[in-house]
């Protein structure tokens, strides 16, 4: 267990700068999720924390101790890889115990530790198999077993669930969460799946092109995204964006666009001027409403029942807006639809900088 401080860490491959001064602090026992699109530098950052890659600048401290000059094996970390990186020629038990073996832990002690870890992960019956004879979920568990058996100060996970199918992913996600609660070890977790980020992290760092876009707790990231990139990257289906204007009228400040009119504020603070903005609304914040209570009016385009809910694509002006409605929604293609939205749940962005505007 330890804190992790990443201070102005930079990385270049030749002339290409991949990370541009990343700063992150993680509390002891925290769960940091690095989230971002492919190629944004997540793995690079993780590899530098692990010591598998050299930093080009900046400092990394684990438990207050600078580790940039330490070899991976001396950093007291454990890592789970996307590909699991199980040693194909060794049995499951040996895979799990390999880290201890390398550290010269005696065979007896090792055996006990391996068995404990296996029990915790419910893979005791697999210890004699080869990785090739395991299913995806089992491999994943073995990879985790290999990490936890070492009892390190810090776990590093590089997209550990992305090779699993949807169902298993949900299961293993819960398992990782439970494991974290149980062991209390600090974790850095790389993913590009926002659901994982939201459910697991105590802190989420959203990255893009080697820059941190937002570093906050998951709820803030979801509800108050710092910019349009974060807003669109998190949430599936993605946040709906509608360009329009902030206008001041008799009743206060309103957002206006073709087919949309939302009362944002009752008062008329002086600092808010009329200006073009982009409105961001999450699909689940759009509720089917009566015509007179609606702030969004449109025509149904596609209706997709997914089981637990139904996705409706609505043509609003010249834009498509997606709404997440209850499962037994009865609307048909080309019918008109009226939607209400809570002004507190919407976000406004500057059309030029794409940064969030707080009003």
């Amino acid at each position: 267990m330890a804190t992790l401080s990443i201070k102005d860490v930079r990385k270049s491959y030749g002339s290409v700068q991949v990370l541009h001064g990343v700063d992150i602090e993680l509390e002891d026992g925290g769960f940091l999720v690095l989230l971002g699109p492919s190629g944004c530098g997540k793995s690079t950052l993780l590899n530098m924390i692990a010591g598998l890659d050299d930093t080009s600048g900046g400092d990394i401290l684990i438990g207050g101790r600078s580790v940039v000059d330490l070899a991976p094996k001396d950093r007291n970390i454990a890592m789970v890889f996307q590909s699991y990186a199980l040693y194909p020629t060794m049995s499951v038990a040996r895979n799990i115990g390999f880290g201890l073996e390398m550290r010269g832990v005696g065979a007896d002690k090792r055996k006990r530790a391996v068995e404990d870890a296996a029990r915790l992960l419910q893979i005791s019956h697999l210890l004699d198999r080869r990785p090739a004879n395991l299913s995806g979920g089992q491999r994943q568990r073995v990879a985790m077993g290999r990490a936890i058996v070492r009892d390190p100060e810090l776990f590093l996970f590089d997209e550990p669930l992305s090779n699993l199918d949807a169902k298993l992913r949900v299961e293993m996600r819960t398992e990782i969460k439970r494991l974290h609660e149980r062991l209390g070890t600090s974790i850095v977790y790389v993913t590009h799946d926002q659901i994982e980020a939201m459910t697991l992290g105590t802190k989420v760092a959203v990255m893009k092109g080697g820059h941190i876009q937002q570093l906050a707790d998951p709820r803030t990231v979801y509800e108050r995204p710092a910019n349009m990139f974060v807003a669109s990257f998190i949430g599936s289906p993605a946040m709906n964006f509608l360009p329009g204007r902030l206008v001041r009228d008799a009743n206060g400040v309103r957002f206006e666009a073709s087919g949309v009119s939302i009362a944002m504020l009752a008062g008329k603070p002086a600092e808010i001027s009329e200006r073009p903005v982009i409105l961001g609304m999450r699909p689940e914040e759009l509720k089917v409403a009566a015509r007179d209570q609606a702030s969004v009016t449109g025509v149904i385009d596609v209706v997709e029942p997914t089981g637990p809910e139904t996705m409706v694509t609505v043509q609003v002006g010249d834009r498509s807006v997606m709404a997440r409605v209850p499962p037994r929604f009865a609307g048909q293609r080309n019918e008109a639809i009226f939607l209400a939205v809570d002004p507190a749940s919407v976000n406004l962005f500057d059309p030029d900088t794409e940064q969030r505007i707080d009003i």
Binding site: G51, D54, V68, D69, L70, A71, D74
Partner: protein, 273 residues
């Protein structure tokens, strides 16, 4: 004491370069020496004091090799034989490798092993009966006959190598082509073979080298200048009574061109079970 990581990496890099430089020296040192020797006068070679850098230079050896032995003819023959061998192997071997790679049938592994067994009986004893067979069909002393003989023991190698490459070419592409309207044959020719192109080239280079350099069969199955290949010609020139420096040019040039060629085309694993 904690050693700096950068420091260690530097040491590893230095070690790597040391290994590479010394191995390269080990590999090309002899060839460089032969090159230097080939520029010397005989009197400067057969001498009590070793000359590392030739004190005077002659191109007589090169002139001799060109004029003395019908060298262009030898090289031409080697080219023809190699080309024929590669062609036959590519045509028949590609089919077989494809079958081994794409179809699971009873006894496949055994048959593959059988292909390999062909290489195991010593050539020494095969030559005479082979000669009889070749004579029976009038192929003795012909470049085609020699190519056929080469094919018999290079084909298994080719099939083994190529199968690995085919295994790594996705089956789905082939399926897609078949659904798009190709026959199996069409899918193989248009899709699979182009995909395994690198492997095909690498395997072909391997057998081309073997055919280009083969000596024993070439010696026994050919007589006339019309079909003699260059290793045989070389052995003639070297003979028992002459120093062997004159072979440098063809040997080195052919070796280096192939070497660079195959190292550039061999970036993918060709051997997969």
């Amino acid at each position: 004491m904690i050693e700096s990581k950068r420091h260690r990496r530097l040491i590893a890099n230095i070690a790597t370069y040391t290994v590479l430089v010394s191995l390269s020296a080990f590999c090309i040192g002899p060839m460089v020496w032969m090159f230097l020797t080939s520029l010397k006068y005989e009197a400067d070679i057969v001498t009590q004091t070793m000359q590392y850098i030739p004190s005077r230079i002659t191109f007589d050896n090169y002139v001799a090799i060109w004029t003395q032995s019908g060298f262009p003819l030898l090289i031409g023959n080697s080219l023809v034989v190699t080309l024929l061998t590669v062609t036959i192997c590519v045509v028949t071997g590609t089919l077989a490798a494809y079958a081994f790679s794409r179809f699971a049938f009873r006894g496949r592994d055994r048959l593959m092993l059988g292909y390999l067994v062909v290489r195991m009986f010593p050539a020494v004893m095969v030559i005479i009966p082979l000669y009889v067979v070749m004579r029976g069909v009038g192929l003795v002393d012909s470049r085609f006959g020699l190519a056929l003989a080469y094919t018999s023991f290079l084909l298994p190698l080719f099939v083994w190598m190529l199968k690995g490459f085919f295994d790594s070419a996705p089956r789905e592409l082939e399926s897609a082509a078949r659904i798009d309207g190709s026959t199996r044959l069409g899918a193989m020719v248009r899709i699979v073979v182009p995909l395994a192109r690198n492997g095909l080239v690498a395997s072909s280079v391997f057998i081309a080298i073997a055919a280009w350099n083969e000596f024993l069969f070439a010696l026994m199955l050919t007589t006339g200048q019309g079909s003699r290949t260059w290793p045989v010609g070389l052995q003639l020139m070297v003979g028992e009574f002459q120093l062997p420096w004159a072979f440098w040019p063809p040997a080195a040039s052919s070796a280096s061109s192939r070497s660079s060629f195959s190292s550039l085309s061999s970036n993918e694993p060709w051997f997969r079970g």
